[in-house]
Structure formats: C-alpha cells, structure tokens
Amino acid sequence: MRRLITVVAVVAVLGGLFLYGLFRGPPNRDVPSQLVGKPAPDFTLPLYTRFQSRFGSSFSLSAHKGTPLVINFWASWCNPCFEEAPLLESAYRQYRSQGVLFVGVQTQDRGQYDAGRSFISRFGFDFPVGMDNDSSIGVNYALFGVPETFFVDRQGIVVYKQVGPLTQAVLAREIEAIVK
C-alpha cells in the first residue's frame, strides 16, 4: 500500500507540473539581456569620413549624456540588416526633431570598409556610422548576432534591446519611450 501511495504521489507531482506548463499561457521567447535597466557601456567609435565634419572623427557615448540614443549593430554581410536599414533611416528623419540620435555600429565585419561605405551610401544614412573593427563594442554589448538594436534613454540607461530586424512598430514604441 505504501508503494502504491508513493507511485500516486510521484505521478500527481509530475502531472501537476505538466498541467501548470500546459496552462501557463504562451511562452515568452524573448532573449533576456543583462543590459536592460543598466547603464549603456561606454564606447568610442571611429566614424566614416563622411560623418566626421558633423560628428567629429569618433563618436563617444559619454559625450552624449542626456541624448536619447538608438544604437544599431549591423554588418555588411547580414541580410536582415539590409531589410531594416531603410526603416532605420526613415525613423531617424521622423524623430530627430524630438532630440533622438541614432548611431550605426558596423561590427563582426573586420576590414570591410568598402562594403561599409557602399552600405551607407545605398541607404543614405544621415546619422553617424562607424566601424567596430575588432568587434569589441559588440562584445561589450553581448551581441547575440546582427542586427541588434539598443534603445538608451536620457539617463544613459538601456531601456530595450531588439534582437533581429526592427519593425516600424517596435521602433515607434521604443523611441517614444526614450524621448519622454
């Protein structure tokens, strides 16, 4: 009898666990990031020549305290980056009047300066873009892959991280969140 009770108890616990699993609602498949809610790691990014007259030879995060930032990581070989690039540029043109600044970081793309330049002219980026040649900025931001985009508020806190290509809806929602 004692054995039978043990069997029933074990099955009940397992069954309960699985029932919970069955009815807990849709699983959340977001990739968690340690950075969300923390200050964005500082970096200095050497910029492509065309941006240097307006933004200086390099872009330094610490010099932009108080500015809401959208930091976009991309690579010239990455197809989803091509997909999201027009969205990024149009969002920048739409929201820059509200004080938000975008930064493009070309990463995991060692030495591909020509490919980077053609990427930039293809989409006519007006926001500063530079080369993270040794991918060290990408490492500091714990990239999962490219593209990834970080939304940083006026206090320099990472508010949201997007893994994979952006959508119009995410861009609008998260920019609203960091400019307010």
Binding site: L4, V7, V8, V11, L14, G15, L22, W77
Partner: protein, 682 residues
C-alpha cells in the same frame, strides 16, 4: 445527391477502427478473465480487423495527398500540387495529425503481427488487450481530437505544402518513421510485462517471448536517433548533430532506459535476478516515450524545434498519467511477486557488471530528464525563466559515459556468478595494456583535452576486450579443426548470433564515441567572407567561390555559390552550399554542402543570400574530425542488432560436432569469457 468524399471515407475508417480497438480491449480482457477461448479469439480477430481498417485510412490519406484532394483539410493545410511525389507521400507524417495516424497505424500493424505470430500462452490475451488499449488512445486522438480527415466545404485550389525543413532533406522522411517503429516496438514488451503482472506470472516468460520485439524497437530507436543527428548535421547549417534540445532529449531517454532493459533481460534469463528492475525499466521506457510526445507536442517545454502547440497536449498528459499510474501501480501491487529473491554472489561478476551498467544508464536517463524538466520546474516555483544548455548535460553525462565505457569493456569478460581471480587478472592486464597504449598514443600525438583523450584510451581498452572475447571463442575452435580462421570465424558468427551481434553493437558504440569525441573536441568553426574568384584558406584547404547559381523549379527556388576546394594546388572537390525557398513559404532554409572524408569533414554553410549582383560569399566553414564515424557507427549498430535478431540456423551435423568439441575444450580450458550464450539461443 450527397457526394462521397475521401475525407468521409477516412473518418469512417478511423471511427470504425476506434470502435474495433475498444472491442478488442474489453472483450480480450473479459476473455482472459473468464478464460474463454471464444472471446479471446474474437478479440484477436478484432486486432487484425483494426489493422486492416487503419491501413485503409492510411491508404485513403495517401490517395488524397497524391491526387491533390484539397477537400481533405490535412491535404489543404500541408500539401501542394507542385511538390514531387515522394514529398506528397511523406506529407502523411509532416504534421501532427498525420503523424499520430501513422503512429496508430504502426501500432495496429505490430499488434496484428503479434496476434498472428505470438505463441498461445496465458499472457497473450492480456498483452493483446493492453496493446489494444494503447490503440484506443491513439485512434481516439485521431478520431476525436486531431482528425486529419475533416473535410472543407469549399476546398482551396492549392495548399502551402509541408514544412520547408521536411522538404529540404530526404532523411526527414525516414527519421520519424524509425522513431515511431522504435516506440511502437518497445510497447510490445511493455504490454507483455503488464500481462505478466496482471496474471501474476512475473517469471521469464514475458521477456523470452518479447526479446525480438524489444531488440527491434531498441534498434529502431537507436537508428532514429543517429538518423536525426545526421539530418540535423546535413541541413541545420551549424555543423553539429546533437544540441541537448528537449526534442532530442525526449527521444534519448527511452533509448537509455531501453538499453538498460536489453542488458537487464540477460541477467534475468541467466540468473533469474533483476526481475523487478526489468519490469520497471520497460514500464519507464514506455512512460518516457509518451512523456516525450507530450512534452514536444504541447509546447510545455520551449524548444528550438518549432512544433505547433497542438490540441493534443492535454490528451497526452492524461494518457501519461493513466499509463504511469497503471504500470507503476500494478508493480507496487505485485511487489511481492516481482521482488528479487536471488542475491548477488559477488559484485565482480557478469551480473554485477550488468547491474552497475544499468544503474549508469538510469543515472544518465535521470540526468537528461532533470535537465529537460528543470526550466519548467524553476518557472513553476519561482516564475523565473532559465535555460539548461549543453554545458550542464556535457559536464554531468560525460563522466557517466566514461564509466559506461569502462564497464562495456570488462563486463562481457566477467563470468557469471563469480570471477576467477587469475583469469580476471590476466584479462585486466590486457585491458589496461589497451588503455595505456591507446591513451599514450593519443598523448604522443598531441591530444591534451581530457575527455577526447580518455575516450581514445577507453576505445583501445574496448577493442582489446572485443579481441579477447573473440579470441576466447575462436582459439579452442581453431585447435580442433584444420579449417581456415576465416571459415571458423564465419561459422562462429552463424552459430552465436546474439554474442556476435552484441560484439558488433559494442564496436559500433566505440566508433560512435570516437566520432563524438573528436568532432566535438577538435572542431574548427570559422566565418569567412570571400569575393568571387578570390580565395581564402581554411584548415589547409583553399576555398574559391567561382560562380553563383539560381535553380528554379515548380516546388523550390535555390540560390547558392559554387565553391572550389583545393589542397596543395590540386582541386579535390566542388561544393555547392545553397539556400532553398520552398513553395509559398517565404522562409529560406539553408542547405550546407559537406565534403565527407574518412578522417574529417569540410562543411560549408552559406551565411548570405546570393543574388544576381552579389559579389561575395559569406561562408560558415567548419572542419570536423571523424564526424562521419558517427554515421558509420550508427549503421554498424543496426547491423549488430540485426545480427542478434536473426534466428540461429540449424547447422550441418559435421559442424555441430566440431562446436560441441570446441565447447568442451573451451570449458576444460576454463577461459573466463567462454560463452554459454549458445545454450540460451534458439
């Protein structure tokens, strides 16, 4: 006039089959309780009828798929006119509803085969009744919860086609069938074990009668796991074959417990020990196969394998609870009969080795289960989401695997009951020699990583063990005959198929282990960007993308690069890694190109999309040593199991005398590994 559609026919068949299975369960049990031969026969005939009716349902579904009858919902949801014929045929198991129909079909086929071939025994009616009850569940799911035969009043002109990953490689057509054949095969010994408990006859009878079924199911499951690994290697583009993903784990756990069962059975046959173990192992195997289906088909555990969260989750959970309560409840009630009375004479004995091996297999299965369920457990308790990844599984299972390896070498050399000191020492000296030579060689060749080096050393140790086993069987035979060693080996292989089959299976495991150790310990994985008609070097190879291509057919569009591979200035291969887009799905799936060689594979996966004006390729280049040994080992494993399964042939009189003489001589020589298995054979 009502227009009769294929869907109606299929639904009718499924409902009829459900009714027949229910009849076979109830009448079979009733016939067994009342010992009424007429009722038993009626139930037995009902299992045959169930098989024929389910076969009709499968034929109807195939007819609908092949003839593009989109009035059947399953066809409309998962098939497509432009697909090649083979894709249409295998679309039967491309989605949930169809694959449960296939599972049900294989189950009825095995049951019918059993009903026709199983010898009359007090166990048979109960075993058939238990199998019919399992059929009731599967056919009930097909009929009421996931009926693939629903008809559409306004059928579409064409459908989206099956999952792109299915169409990408023919192995996806084979792997699920192997898996179901494994699960279904293992439900036969389960049914017999339950019958033995119900009838209070927990002796050897149920095991002896289901030895072939158990081996068949176990062999199919093992083949399915290797086939799944190879599929993953060929199509997923990361150059790996095993990721400890929940979907993989749930197929692995029943294989581990079934492995323990296959070994435990031998102890019970020889020594009438481990009775309770064996019953529990086969019950656990069956429960784990249902649990696995529940976990992967219900979305309870998130997995990289994108199975839709179907409506069958609660049904499988209910079935799992019922089956577990029934099986283990019955074991608890019959504990006094299944409990072991015999005691282990000595730890260092064949049965001691088997027992230790069983504990290791069980520990492995438990580790995998914990790792798989842990995220759910944590979430239930704390609401946190965690992931248990390969590092956990590797760290915990690798030491256990090494111990399994250690036992695999020494176990078969130990005699039953008690090892004799001097022959044990002699065998151990040989084994240690194999270990040291292989391990030392590995160190000299520059291997430093602990597990791969240890695997090589243990592989040497195991090869020596196999050599000793073979030698101890052949040497006395050779002394008594003038025939050539090859012909003696050949007739030994014919006479002792179980013995030789197990040696082949163990050799296969050694080969797989070496493949796993090298391909995971020494793989090089690099992303390279190369402009067309430029070259890059990777692991001594020069890779030159020379051209791009675009193939368009009715069912797919594939684009890729032609990469020439050369070494030392000599061109040795042309690889065509590509990206496929199937039908209307916009999701591109990669199809890596692999250069298979005996010592290593060169694996190229395309990381960028090749368009008409693309000027460069981005390749994920992977160099994997010995990875093809895993696939070869998998094949050899199947050969080993098949050898064990072949019935022992009656030999010519002349040969029989020689063997008898050899056996006598072997017995006189007192060789530790002298195999009495021939006696158990047949």
């Amino acid at each position: 006039m009502v227009h009769l559609q294929l869907g109606h026919l299929g639904s009718a068949a499924v409902f009829l089959a459900f009714g027949l299975a229910l009849y076979a369960t109830v009448v079979g049990a009733l016939g067994a309780v009342r010992r009424d031969a007429r009722l038993q026969t009626s139930a037995r005939l009902a299992t045959l009828a169930t098989f024929l009716v389910v076969a009709t349902a499968v034929a109807v579904m195939e007819a609908a798929l092949v003839s593009n009858d989109f009035s059947v919902q399953y066809v409309a949801n998962h098939s497509r006119i432009a697909s090649p014929l083979w894709v249409k045929v295998v679309t039967l198991w491309a989605a949930l509803q169809g694959s449960i129909l296939l599972w049900g079909f294989l189950l009825t086929a095995y049951t019918a085969l059993l009903a026709l071939t199983a010898p009359l025994s007090p166990l048979r009616p109960w075993a058939l009744s238990v199998l019919s009850a399992i059929q009731v569940f599967f056919l009930g799911v097909v009929a009421f919860i996931a009926n693939p035969f629903h008809t559409l009043p306004n059928p579409p002109a064409d459908g989206p086609g099956p999952n792109a990953l299915l169409q990408n490689h023919w192995m996806m057509a084979v792997h699920p069938v192997l898996m179901y054949l494994g699960f279904v095969g293992l439900s036969v010994p389960f049914a017999y074990a339950m019958a033995a408990l119900i009838t209070r006859r927990p002796g050897n009878e149920w095991m002896v009668q289901t030895r072939r079924w158990a081996l068949t199911g176990w062999g199919f499951l093992g083949a399915a796991i290797v086939a799944g690994g190879w599929w993953s290697y060929e199509v997923l583009g990361w150059g790996g074959y095993w990721a400890w993903d929940p979907v993989e784990n749930v197929s692995f756990m029943p294989w581990l417990t079934a492995t323990a069962f296959i070994h435990g059975v031998q102890v019970q046959e020889r020594r009438r020990m481990l009775k309770s173990w064996n019953v529990m192992l086969i019950a656990l195997t069956f429960c784990l196969s249902i649990l696995g289906t529940f976990l992967t088909r219900s979305g309870v555990i998130s997995s990289v394998h994108a199975f839709a969260d179907g409506p069958v989750g609660p049904a499988f959970l209910g079935f799992f609870v019922v089956v577990t309560l029934f099986a283990f409840g019955l074991i608890a009630l019959r504990w006094d009969q299944v409990r072991d009375r015999a005691e282990l004479d000595a730890v260092v004995s064949r049965e001691g080795g088997f027992l230790a091996g069983n504990i290791l297999f069980l520990a492995l299965a438990f580790t995998v289960l914990i790792g798989t369920l842990f995220p759910l457990l944590v979430e239930a308790v704390s609401g946190q989401r965690v992931t248990v990844g390969p590092p956990f599984f590797d760290q915990v299972t690798l030491p256990l695997w090494m111990l399994v390896f250690l036992l695999m070498g020494i176990g078969p050399l130990l005699p039953w009951r008690r090892a004799d000191g001097s022959s044990l020492r002699r065998n151990l000296a040989w084994l240690a020699g194999g270990f040291l030579v292989a391990g030392g060689g590995a160190l000299l060749l520059g291997m430093r990583e602990i597990y791969p080096t240890l695997t090589v050393a243990l592989a040497g140790y195991n090869l020596v063990s196999l050599g000793l086993l073979l030698g101890q069987a052949l040497v006395p035979r050779l002394r008594l005959t003038s025939r050539s060693p090859w012909s003696v080996l050949w007739s030994y292989a014919h006479e002792s198929r179980r013995r030789v089959g197990s040696m082949i299976a163990h050799l296969a495991i050694v080969i797989v282990a070496l493949g796993v150790a090298f391909s995971s310990g020494y793989r090089v994985d690099q992303q390279v960007r190369i402009d067309f008609n430029h070259s890059a070097t990777f692991q001594g190879y020069t890779l030159t993308p020379v051209d791009r291509f675009l193939d368009r057919s009715a069912s797919r569009i594939s684009s890729g690069a032609v990469v020439q591979v050369s070494r030392g200035g000599r061109q040795i291969a042309t690889l065509r890694p590509r990206t496929n887009v199937f039908g209307s799905s916009q999701q591109p799936v990669s199809k890596p190109a692999v250069m298979y060689t005996f010592t290593h594979d060169l694996y190229l996966n395309l990381d960028n999309t090749i368009g008409p004006d693309t000027t460069y390729v981005v390749l994920r280049a992977i160099y994997s040593p010995l990875v093809s040994w895993i696939w070869f080992g998998g094949l050899l494993f199947v050969v080993g199991v098949a050898t064990s399964l072949m019935p022992a042939r009656r030999r010519l009189d002349e040969r029989r005398t020689v063997t008898a003489g050899a056996r006598a001589a072997g017995g006189a020589a007192g060789a530790a590994g002298d195999s009495p298995e021939e006696a158990a054979e047949g």
